[in-house]
Structures are given as C-alpha cells and as structure tokens.
Amino acid sequence: MESVVDIVLLSFLCITVVAIVYIRKLFCAIMLLGIFSLLSASLFVTMDAVDVAFTEAAVGTGISSILLLSALALTHTREQRPPHQPYIALLVVVVTGAVLIYGTMDLPRFGDPNSPIHRHVAVRYIADSPHEVGPPNIVTSVLASYRGYDTLGETVVIFTAGIALVGLLGFRRRQEFKVRLYQPMDKKTSYAENSTEDGDEFEDNIKLPGANHMVLRIVGKMFIPLILLFALYVQFHGDYGPGGGFQAGVIFASGIILYALIFDVETAMRVITPKGLRLLAVAGVFIYGGVGLVCMFLGGNFLDYNVLSAHPLHGQHLGIFLIELGVGINVFAIMVIMFYTFANRKRGSV
C-alpha cells in the first residue's frame, strides 16, 4: 500500500514537471510549481518526514508562489521562444542524469533499515535524545540542540536574504496610491457597515483591490485569526509534534500576507509596519545568538542549554523554547519584508 501511494505521487510529480518544462505562460508555470510543491509535501508525509512536509507545504505552495507572482506582476507574463535549439542542453542533462543514475547503483535499496545512513549518529539521536534533550519530537531536538550551530547559520542566511531584498528593492511607497487611499479615510472605517450601493460608490473613489470581492473579504476575515492562532500553536507545540519556529514563522507571515492581498498592502503596512518588521527580524537573530552567549556566561559552551537551569533537561527545554521563538520571529519578519518589498515596487520604476 505504501509503495502504491508512493508510485502514484511520483508519477503525478513527473507529469507536473513535464508540464512545467513545456508551458510558456509563466503564470501557469508558477501555479504548476505550487502543485509540484504540494505533491512533494504529500510524498514527504508518506516518507515519515512530517516536519519537512509541513515546511514544504507552507513555503513551497504558499510563500514561493506569492513571491514569484509578485515578481511576475512587475515583469512580463509570457516567456519568449529561445532563438537557438536546446540540443546541447538536452545532451548535458541526459549525460548528467545517466551518471547520477549510475551512481545510485551503489546506494542501498530504498527503505532499507540497514543502510549506512541509519547506522551512524542517527542511532544515538533516537536512543538518547529523550534523556539528553527532552522533546518527544526528535527533529526538534536535533534541529535546536544537537545541531544548534547549523540552525543559527540558517537563521542568519535568511536574515541576510532579507537585507539583500531591502537593499535591492527597498520599501519605496507607491506615492499616488497613498494619496488616494488617505483621502476617504473616514469613509473607510464605516465601509463595513455601509450597504452595497454605498460600497460601489466608494469603490470608484479609492479602488481597494479586494473591495469587489465580498466573498474573499468575509472568508479572509474569518480565516486570518485562525491562521495566526494555528501559527502560534505550531510554534509552541513544536517540541511535542511536527512544527517549530520555521513553520510557525512562515504560517504567521502567510496570514499577514493574506490580509495584505485582500485589504491592500498599504493597510497591512499600517498594521505591521516595515520599521517594526526590521526590528523583529533583528530581534529574532539576537534572541538566538543571545541564548548562546548567555550559555557561555553561565559557564557552558555556546548554545549548550544544560546550564540555563538547575536541571539539565529544564535548561534544554528553556533553551529550545527561546531559540525556536527567535527563529519564528526572524522567519516571520523576513517573509513579510520580502512580500512588502515586491508588493511596494512600482511597475517599471528605476
């Protein structure tokens, strides 16, 4: 049964990827990429990688698609036919693929419990992490404690990407839009209670992107609090089940991005300001690094949480809680910053 699901999902993936290669409309390619991510997330679930599936579903289908679409809105939606024939590319790809497949001949069979990867340090993580670190979710133990340096590095990489984005695109505001939105501000507050006739008149004045999508606005209003609540659950329940800072940050960010898509970016920017986001992004990395430094001041190694409390397991718990919080805040802030920078860019501005 397991292999049947596996094979079906793999063939769906192949079909999707062939469609991505052939299609020339970039919008369709981006949508197909979202499907590709969702299918691979399902495949990760069948292969027991629940945390990874979680992240892939939130990042691959959510944030990636949004970012690609916002970049597409600033450029051209159709791919040109390349002037030269791609035979050399095809040859390179076929040869590389053949070499890689030849390489897999030496690999152990798929799902083999005796393959070398399972006989190395993983045995220790599975056997000792409940006593050494504590959280039932081994992935969290490894991520936050055993390989804490790695995760700090990843957090800093994300932070750097956020800085690069702000440097490349900036938070420049769409001036003409701002003026139009600020004038009928008093009207806007009473907009929700107004009847639809008034609403139509209002739309002519300011053109909210979601103003004529009644269903979107109402469903959005119902869903956004739930999304945010779910993100908090994922953040604080990451020790016990699938989840953690990375997933929670992305899910929280997607709630805010949904708000921005339905109620306009300017409105979202007044709720979550770019300045606050920059502070949050710094704060996230600072919390992570700070926990490491506090451990050093208390006489342990960098990111050695045992010294944080009288009982080593409590110390580990506190340390993991804090650094997951740092990761969550950092990822959330950077993801929203990325969306803002793209959404705020005027088409064709130099």
Partner: protein, 120 residues
C-alpha cells in the same frame, strides 16, 4: 531484481534533471528560477528518500509511538527543513535581481539582455 528498490532515487533524479534542463535551456529569468525551485525540491526528495525506513514511523517519541520502536532517520529531515526556508530566501533574492534587471533593460529574456549589452 535489485534495481526495483531504486525507483524513488531515479524519479528524484529525473525531476532534478528536468529542473536543471529548464535552468540551462530557457532564456527567461523567472522560468529559470522556477526550474531552480524544481531542482531543489527534487534534491529534498532524494534526501528524504534516503532517510525512509520501511515499517518505520515519524521520529516523534510518545506513548503512541512506543510500540513502533522503528523511526525514520531524523537527520535528513533536519537538514532539509532548514534548506527549504533557505531555498525560498534565495529564490526571493533571485526574483529581486530579476525585477531590477527588468527595470534597467525592459526585458527578462537572456538573449535580449545580451543584445542590449553588446549594442552599448
């Protein structure tokens, strides 16, 4: 029939190579980034395939999973979990560069950009 056990790896390699093909054969910069995303997701698939054990379960230890006693390898999960988020960060930087290129050149097709460069 030892080769049957490798189909997961082979499909992952096929997907990887399709992404690679898009990256090197297409001139459109956004399409290239889509190909790069396909490529990286396939690499994730390869890694996670290696961590899978038949009959194993997700590496979460609690009273319900005690009866399994066989967990899939958590290390690839940790590596890939962070790689996914870093992947989206790199995609975002690539897209930002694409947007800036479009603002300067008015196109995101590689050969048109090159033609404009040569004509300078």
């Amino acid at each position: 029939m030892s080769w049957v056990g490798h189909y997961n790896y082979w499909v992952a390699i096929f997907l990887m190579m399709s992404g690679f093909y898009v990256v090197i054969s297409r001139g459109n910069l956004i399409k290239k980034l889509i190909g790069l995303n396909v490529f990286s997701t396939s690499v994730f698939l390869l890694y996670i395939s290696m961590g899978k054990i038949f009959g194993g379960t997700a590496p979460i230890i609690n009273e319900h999973s005690q009866k399994f006693q066989l967990f899939s390898n958590p290390i690839p999960h940790v590596l890939i979990l962070t790689a996914i988020v870093v992947g989206v960060a790199t995609t975002a930087v690539g897209l930002a560069l694409t947007v800036r290129i479009n603002e300067r050149y008015g196109t995101i097709e590689e050969d048109e950009i090159r033609a404009k460069d040569d004509s300078l």
